[in-house]
């Protein structure tokens, strides 16, 4: 990688394609989901072009499923738009969480990057950001590949109009859960992140079962991050200073590229 050329503002295709490669697990997970969306949209009476437009302009999997179901149920357009807003309100938090990493990018780049900030590219990117210096091209590559990985199967589903056989024997429907687990577990090295995640997961389930509808994600995230911040948890540095040989071994075993390590440095400074 030639940093001097990149920093001169030239768009680096090699970094872009590194980003697209990082998105392969996302594409794998999107494949059956996107396809199913396309089929369902056709059943709801959307044309192939309308189905494609929704994927290309909205790029938000869960809200597209909900929208198509609401169309099928004859819901008015305004209520569908409002529901979409509620379902996607969590993106405000995710967008804000990007600020420390993207603040030096131009406005145009931030807007273009923001367009592609669905859940999966968001978590993939923010995990990368926390691990290493990530340039705009690489982050955009993740988003663009995810965008195509979501849209193309949807269009294929709309055209064929039928599901591509039963994929459940392949376990492909675990791909996104597996991706979330792969992205979440590195945060567990830091006790504050671990506790925050446990609180968020519990609250999300409780709220979901309590019938708050699609508010569960954003409410659980807001509450858990706030509780997690306020909890009197020792920082990793303090833990390590007081650690005996056995726990020291345990922490050093997982210390290499932690998303939380930069976090803790910043936290220590504040």
């Amino acid at each position: 990688m030639n940093m001097s050329v990149e920093q001169a503002g030239k768009f680096s295709p090699s970094l872009f394609f590194e980003g697209t490669r990082n998105a392969v697990p996302i594409i794998l997970g999107y494949l059956p989901l996107g396809f199913a969306y396309g089929v369902l949209a056709g059943e709801a009476g959307l044309s192939v072009l309308e189905t494609a437009l929704m994927s290309l302009l909205v790029f938000a999997g869960s809200s597209q499923f909900i929208a198509v179901n609401m169309i099928l149920a004859g819901a008015p357009a305004l209520s569908i738009v409002i529901t979409t807003f509620v379902v996607n309100a969590r993106h405000m938090l995710m967008s804000a969480a990007m600020v420390p990493f993207v603040r030096n990018w131009s406005r145009a780049r931030q807007i273009l990057f923001g367009f592609g900030l669905a859940d999966e590219p968001f978590v993939m990117n923010i995990s990368n950001f926390a691990k290493k210096e990530v340039r705009y091209e690489e982050a955009l590559g993740v988003n663009v590949a995810s965008y195509l990985g979501w849209s193309v199967p949807g269009i294929a589903g709309a055209i064929t109009g039928q599901l591509m056989g039963d994929l459940s024997p392949l376990g492909l429907d675990f791909a996104l859960a597996g991706l979330f687990i792969a992205l979440l577990v590195p945060f567990f090295k830091e006790r504050r992140e671990l506790v925050t995640a446990l609180i968020a997961g519990t609250l999300s389930v409780v709220l979901y079962l309590a019938g708050v509808g699609r508010w569960n994600i954003i409410l659980a995230t807001l509450a858990a991050a706030t509780i997690g911040l306020l909890l009197p948890i020792q920082t990793k540095k303090a833990q390590q200073e007081g650690a005996d040989a056995s726990t020291g071994e345990a922490t050093s075993a997982v210390s290499t590229t932690s998303p939380a390590s930069t976090d803790e440095q910043n936290g220590g400074q504040s």
Binding site: L28, V48, E50, L57, I71, A77, I80, V81, I82, T84, N88, H91, L93, M94, S95, A96, V99, V102, R107, Q110, I111, G114, F115, L117, I126, A130, S168, P169, L170, G171, L172, F174, A175, A177, G178, L179, F180, I181, A182, L184, V185, F187, E193, T196, A197, A200, G201, S204, Y208, L209, I217, A220, T221, A224, A225, G228, L229, D263, N266, S270
Partner: protein
């Protein structure tokens, strides 16, 4: 291959309420320095949002918000498959390894138990 005006309007509405929350906070907050406490809070958002997305997938039964119920049982194959998946993620830190183990676990569980 046609687009009705009503559907186009619906899609544009959905586009706006999705797109604006995705870029506007980033854009507005980038031009000012963040309070360190806020910055620490924002760094807890990724693990929180991930866990909030994942937990209902693993711990509740499918079937819409109305029919949802807690589903912690040996019959919950998503939950069972998540166990080797978590272990692989912790030990190997490999994206692909984790996802492949999870998918393979689910496939095997379905094959032998399903």
């Amino acid at each position: 291959m046609s687009v009705s005006p009503e559907t186009l309007l619906l899609i544009l509405g959905m586009c706006l309420v999705t797109f604006i929350p995705r870029f506007l906070p980033m854009l507005l907050l980038s031009s000012r320095s963040l309070n360190p406490q806020l910055e620490r809070w924002l760094k807890l958002v990724p693990p929180a949002v991930l866990a909030a997305l994942l937990a209902p997938e693993l711990l509740t039964s499918k079937g819409g918000a109305e029919g949802a119920r807690l589903f912690i049982s040996p019959d919950n194959m998503m939950l069972l498959a998540s166990i080797p998946c978590f272990i692989t993620a912790w030990i190997t830190k490999s994206f692909f390894g984790t996802i492949v183990v999870g998918m393979a676990a689910l496939a095997l569980l379905r094959f032998f138990l399903g």
